[in-house]
Symmetry: C2
Subunit: 170 residues, 2 copies
Amino acid sequence: MTDLKSAEGRHGVALLYLREDELRRGIELLFFGYRDFIAESDGELETLGLGRAHHRALHFIGRKPDLSVNELLVILKITKQSLGRVLKDLSARGLVEQKQGRRDRRQRLLRLTEEGNVLHTRLLTGQRARIARAFRDAGPEAVAGFRKVLAGLISEDERSRVLAMIGQGS
Amino acid sequence: MTDLKSAEGRHGVALLYLREDELRRGIELLFFGYRDFIAESDGELETLGLGRAHHRALHFIGRKPDLSVNELLVILKITKQSLGRVLKDLSARGLVEQKQGRRDRRQRLLRLTEEGNVLHTRLLTGQRARIARAFRDAGPEAVAGFRKVLAGLISEDERSRVLAMIGQGS
DNA sequence: GATTTTAAGTCAGTCATGTTGACATATATA
DNA sequence: TATATATGTCAACATGACTGACTTAAAATC
């Protein structure tokens, strides 16, 4: 009855799920859900003297071995200098190694060491457990919706590229 | 055929959406979707010399005026010292004001000034536009699924409290 | 009424992670 | 040969978190 601003479709149909407070709920759910999901690995990382930045790099390197530094920069959207520090830490701890590219010898291709892979797997397993529980509790249709909405939140000019990188579907 | 680890239900039914790579996709979608969603307000904030921390505080104060400092601390899950700096900035810029609680005079109740409310509205409008587009493109069922999954990602021991705070449903 | 707990604020120091800007080196490409 | 690209590095700085210690005022409890 109240608070239906910008929630009327062009046929006068009330699009209830687009009401202001429904949008606010979506925004806040994203905040709390993301926060708690991401906080999960923190304990494990802390014992190793690593942070979330290291985790992100580890994730994308583990996911696609022989990734170039530049590809990783594009994925993470941080500066070369920021990533440089992270990679130095990971190398120093023997979690990541770099080798010269064969086709392009300017490139330094990144991959996890065996030890790095162990950590990557351990962290990923924890995150998968959490998201798997949420997925299972919510059911397959909900999961499809979850993806659809998140895909729509990705910057339009990168969406197709990002979705292609993430994998089929979406 | 391949990669069905932990994706078989106890009846042997392949729960495709729980396959390892589907979970990974979910994790990555969350990363990219959240990142781009959150990055949106940054420009506007930067021109004011404010950051995301200020935005979060502003959001929850605007959303529930006369919030106590402690309530805000619980919501944001940061330390008193971190919040202190943020509130000092917001007060100094005349965006937030504090008044003594009447029932409990130890409390400092927070609310936005008129100017603070203008900024809050401006930022929220931008975020709403983005999420509204994603919601509209995805449709109501997808939105319901989006919420269901995100609610499931919230820490179990706080979930009901957080969901109650966010609002009806979910 | 005295004691303890709670709400809030503050000072000081540290850490993680991001930023700019400038510059160097090796290699690929035009 | 000249230019562009991929990477790395030095230095300085900003933001937003943290810990630990301590204060003040008010409420709650003994």
